[in-house]
């Protein structure tokens, strides 16, 4: 026994597990336990009492948080699968591209929350009587908030593959499957990860909004933070609202540490720039796992398996990579045929929608919805202007002080990820208490969650502003108003536009929940298309939902085309600093 112990001590140091192994093992184990625990309640029958009863007990919050997070991850998984298929199809087939990319552009602009009622009914019918239907509906809602920009970024990466790397792959006869895993996916990785992070941040908002929903007579409350919050609002428990806010904050912090940061570190590996980047991302979780000894050794088995999977040729022998033939003329006739099929299809769909709306609604309804959308648009514009006036100077002030910026930047990112609808009830309580005008004061909720995108992009832009330009401005004595107009504002403009575009898109979506809020049995609504859609949802009035969402989507598309796209073009053409 003793000798054995001694001989064990003589073992090569490289064979023993190190402390990092234990820490990593504990982390992994707890993740598995959480997964098993959280997925237990998925398939309960809808009528089971514990399925829909939400307790306001604080002790239940960790479980609810877990369920909410799992929903989030399920949606992310679905979004990834969707991205790989949709974007690849669009990038590889010219005819598919003709349909898929404009469609994606529209889907990006559709206010997802407006359609919740449809998806809930659809999924409940798909899994009659089971919680799984409601779960799927919630996951689908989150999915719709995450998938589009991910698919778009992947598509754009696929269209911009470096030509020389493509030639190497072709020269080595990589099959399409091998190319996908060796070239296309790795190349797309950094921008895909960035978009995943943006999607996740936006997703918290939707997961909260989609857990507790009532369509007509059906009320569904899935166990989760969103339902907990809804229950708290119904019971007028401000302490529970605060507890939900705190839980959400912790969840976002944890997920930032355990998922975000390791992912960013991972994604840094795939950047194509050939010089080592100056800013190195760090993550203690990633460090921990990379320092483990046993775990790293064990992990080589699945890693090897996956990499040999990625190296499978997966193609019939006759499908050899062909030389790119520049002279192959795409058949014009087939194109024409394809376009006419598409045009016919969309015409039919349009007729169907018009018939659906026209049977139930009159021209006055359309006019009403247009007017209400205009109200909401004015709200969005005014608040964007206000947020700009407030946050641009603040962002520049912070950005000019690197040490301060380093501390503030994680905070702004946290605030951007934080689902603003969790704090809505607190605002409602204040509005009720002080008898404020909802048309004015509810407006602030629209921008509440999205203003941080402006702030953190302005900070990033100011930090990235070249030092020699700052010094030149100082050397020539450019100060005050002049400095703002001709030095810093043009300098940060591209960053500002990026932030403002994100903020504006988020604000339209937020309008649906922000213009119509409840506190117990008190309902406060502002005049706007968001309230219109929400009211129609509660009443189960489908034609009005379709009309509201449709008009809003058209407004958003026009807004993007007529305002943001030209601004983006300007930023790209004239104000890029590289």
């Amino acid at each position: 026994m003793f000798s054995r112990f001694v001989s064990f001590a003589y073992l090569d140091r490289g064979v023993r597990p190190n402390p990092y192994d234990f820490a990593a093992f504990i982390l992994l184990l707890s993740a598995f336990v959480a997964l098993a625990y959280g997925s237990r309640g998925l398939t309960l029958p809808l009528s089971a009492p514990e399925a829909t009863a939400i307790t306001l007990d604080y002790a239940a919050l960790p479980y609810y948080a877990l369920r909410t997070t799992l929903r989030m991850f399920a949606a992310m998984g679905a979004s990834l699968v969707f991205t790989f298929i949709y974007a690849t199809l669009a990038a590889k087939s010219r005819r598919a591209e003709l349909v898929l990319i404009p469609l994606l552009d529209i889907l990006q602009s559709v206010p997802i929350l407006g359609f919740l009622s449809f998806t809930v009914t659809f999924f409940l019918q798909l899994f009659p009587g089971s919680m799984l239907g409601a779960e799927c509906a919630a996951v689908f809602a989150i999915f719709t908030s995450q998938a589009w920009n991910m698919a778009f970024s992947f598509y754009q990466s696929l269209r911009n593959l470096p030509r020389d790397l493509v030639e190497v792959s072709n020269g080595f006869h990589l099959s399409p499957w091998q190319k996908f895993w060796q070239l296309e996916t790795p190349f797309a990785m950094p921008s895909l990860i960035w978009n995943m992070m943006m999607s996740m941040s936006g997703g918290w908002f939707f997961v909260v909004a989609s857990e507790a929903i009532s369509v007509g007579n059906t009320t569904i409350k899935l166990p989760g933070i969103g339902s907990y919050l809804a229950q708290a609002i119904e019971m007028r428990r401000i302490d529970a609202v605060v507890a939900a806010v705190a839980t959400m904050a912790i969840v976002i912090l944890l997920y930032d540490q355990f998922l975000f940061r390791p992912l960013v570190v991972f994604g840094g590996k795939f950047r194509v720039e050939l010089s080592a980047s100056q800013t190195k991302e760090h993550s203690w979780v990633a460090d921990l796992f990379s320092r483990t000894r046993w775990l790293s050794a064990i992990m080589t088995v699945p890693v090897e398996f996956l990499s040999s999977l990625a190296l499978l040729r997966l193609e019939p022998g006759f499908l050899r990579p062909k030389a790119t033939d520049k002279h192959e003329h795409p058949s014009r006739v087939l194109d024409l045929l394809w376009i006419s099929v598409l045009a016919l299809g969309s015409l039919l769909a349009l007729r169907y929608v018009i018939a659906f709306i026209g049977n139930n609604l009159t021209f006055d309804d359309i006019r009403e919805s247009v007017i209400l959308t205009s109200f909401t648009m004015i709200r969005v514009i005014v608040l964007m202007v206000l947020a700009t006036i407030v946050w641009v100077p603040v962002g520049v002030y912070i950005g000019l002080r690197p040490t301060l910026a380093e501390k503030v930047q994680p905070l702004t990112q946290f605030l951007a990820a934080f689902p603003a609808n969790v704090v809505f009830p607190i605002a409602v309580v204040l509005i009720v208490r002080y008898q404020l005008n909802p048309d004015i004061w509810l407006s602030f909720l629209i921008i509440f969650g999205t203003q941080w995108y402006i702030l953190f992009n302005v900070i990033a832009g100011t930090t990235a502003f070249p030092n020699d330009l700052k010094e030149a401005a100082r050397a020539f004595g450019i100060k005050g108003w002049h400095w703002w107009i001709s030095v810093i504002l043009p300098g940060i403009f591209p960053y500002y536009v990026t932030g403002a575009l994100t903020a504006s898109g988020g604000s339209w979506n937020a309008a649906i929940v922000a213009e119509y809020v409840k506190w117990g049995d008190v309902t406060i609504a502002a005049h706007g298309i968001g309230a219109y859609i929400s009211e129609a949802t509660v009443a189960g009035d489908y034609p009005r939902i379709v009309l509201g969402v449709g008009v809003m989507a058209i407004f958003v598309i026009l807004f993007n085309r007529l305002l943001w796209r030209p601004l983006f073009g300007l930023a790209e053409r004239r104000l890029r600093l590289d």
């Binding site: 470096p162 072709n170 020269g171 030389a323 004239r574």
Partner: protein, 458 residues
């Protein structure tokens, strides 16, 4: 280490005495390209001017061929066609007697940009080509390590490309190409992204390996725009003329390896090639006139700053050249390769400020006058020459003069250009004319509205 050096010396000595005789009398033909044609796509998607016009080339076992030409001579296109990556518009291509329809197995390419996968380590980059072909893991690892060892990369196996210097990255490029045991190594300006010293080291290392027959390859085809590099490395230099690319000369190089750049024979050869490349283009052989009728606008212009043009005129006018400079010396003293030097010389020729010929550039009387004058007169002179000799500039000016408001949108001219050349060239040409026209004060151009006008803002 010492031993291998001695060996290297010996074997290079051997081959230096009889570089041709060691190869079989009638060397085996590896690749045969016959009458290869390739064309640009114009902006409107039609088939545009030719890039390669009936180019025929045979690659034998045991030779290093250099494809020498300026930008626009289609040398890179030809390389990609031979590799099977790109299909020619017309002509036949065989590899070991078999027609080529896709990427060829026995061919590996080294790229100017290295083209390494940044997410793969050195070892994984080298292994990739093998693993993709279903070579087993153990064997792939062994062969990759051998190639890495051969090319002088040991110790860097686990590094990522972004940690390496340019020279080390290109070594990875070589290892990756060699590991698949190709018959032919194609190199697309492999040293032009490297600094002078690094490039020289890599060249000699590669040549040593080749001369010692330590490489698995049977033949090398390299694209270059560096005349000295071609003379240093190749057995045969194929000179391509530009627009369209045709073979204008084939020059055998029989100098023994290692070659000395200062050897008079070496210098003579370099001078000869310069002279060949500055020869006025011969008219197309009968029956092969360009399909596109030559239109005055069908002339793509390179992006060259007026400062470069003025600087070149001054350089040639001054001591020691006094108005006439041999190109090899000019290239040497200005550290310019022919890809940079020739477009400048040709633009000066186009503007009638200088003439190219016999491997030298001579200023015209107007060129000498330009060199003497002050800025304002220079600009006037430049403007006048631009108007007289660049049809596009004259065309823009005529349109502006004709119009009541003296304004015209850039897109109009761009569309006209796109009838004759690809999108990229059209854009580049218009950009050049804008810059030159601004300098010559022929017209003003506003970026925001993309319009030409006659007056500058006051």
């Amino acid at each position: 280490m010492v031993e291998t050096r001695a060996n290297a010396f010996q074997s290079s000595n051997q081959s230096s005495q009889a570089p041709v005789q060691t190869r079989p009398e009638t060397p085996k033909i590896l690749v045969e390209a016959k009458n290869i044609c390739q064309s640009y796509r114009t902006g409107s998607g039609e088939t545009g001017p030719m890039v390669l016009d009936h180019v025929s080339l045979t690659l034998h076992e045991g030779e290093i061929i250099g494809l020498l030409g300026r930008s626009g001579s289609g040398k890179s296109s030809l390389l990609r066609i031979i590799s099977g990556l790109v299909q020619p518009a017309a002509g036949s291509l065989t590899y070991l007697g078999e027609p080529v329809t896709g990427p060829v197995d026995g061919v590996a390419i080294v790229f100017q940009s290295f083209a390494l996968f940044p997410w793969l380590s050195v070892l994984a980059n080298v292994e990739l080509g093998l693993r993709a072909r279903k070579v087993g893991r153990e064997e792939a690892r062994a062969r990759a390590l051998k190639a890495i060892d051969l090319i002088g990369l040991d110790g860097f196996e686990s590094a990522y490309p972004k940690e390496l210097s340019g020279g080390m990255r290109q070594r990875v490029g070589f290892a990756r190409a060699l590991v698949v045991d190709p018959n032919i190594l194609l190199m697309d300006e492999p040293f032009s992204a490297l600094d002078v010293l690094t490039a020289e080291t890599l060249r000699t290392d590669l040549l040593d390996l080749w001369v010692e027959s330590r490489l698995p390859i049977k033949s090398i085809l390299m694209v270059t725009h560096n005349i000295e590099e071609a003379v240093l490395m190749c057995n045969r230099i194929v000179v391509l003329s530009s627009n369209p690319g045709r073979i204008s000369a084939e020059i055998p190089v029989t100098l023994p390896h290692p070659r000395n750049r200062l050897d008079p024979e070496f210098r003579q050869l370099v001078d000869k090639i310069y002279a060949l490349m500055t020869k006025r283009p011969e008219p197309a052989p009968p029956g092969r006139e360009p399909v596109q009728p030559t239109h005055t606008l069908a002339m793509s212009l390179p992006i060259i700053s007026t400062n470069t043009l003025a600087g070149m005129i001054e350089e040639i006018a001054a001591d020691p050249y006094n108005g006439s400079a041999p190109l090899p010396e000019l290239a040497d003293s200005l550290q310019m390769e022919i890809d940079d030097l020739f477009p400048v010389g040709e633009t000066l020729q186009l503007l009638h400020f200088a003439e190219l010929g016999d491997g030298a550039i001579r200023l015209t009387p107007q060129g000498l006058r330009f060199a003497d004058e002050e800025v304002d007169v220079r600009k006037q002179l430049f403007g006048a020459h631009l108007l007289a000799h660049v049809p596009l500039a004259a065309h823009i000016k005529a349109v502006l003069d004709e119009r009541q408001n003296h304004r015209a949108r850039a897109s109009r001219f761009l569309e006209e250009l796109e009838d004759y050349m690809s999108d990229d060239y059209a854009e580049q040409t218009l950009k050049s004319v804008i810059n030159w026209g601004r300098y010559g004060e022929l017209f003003a151009y506003d970026e925001n509205s993309a319009t030409f006008s006659l007056e500058d803002p006051h």
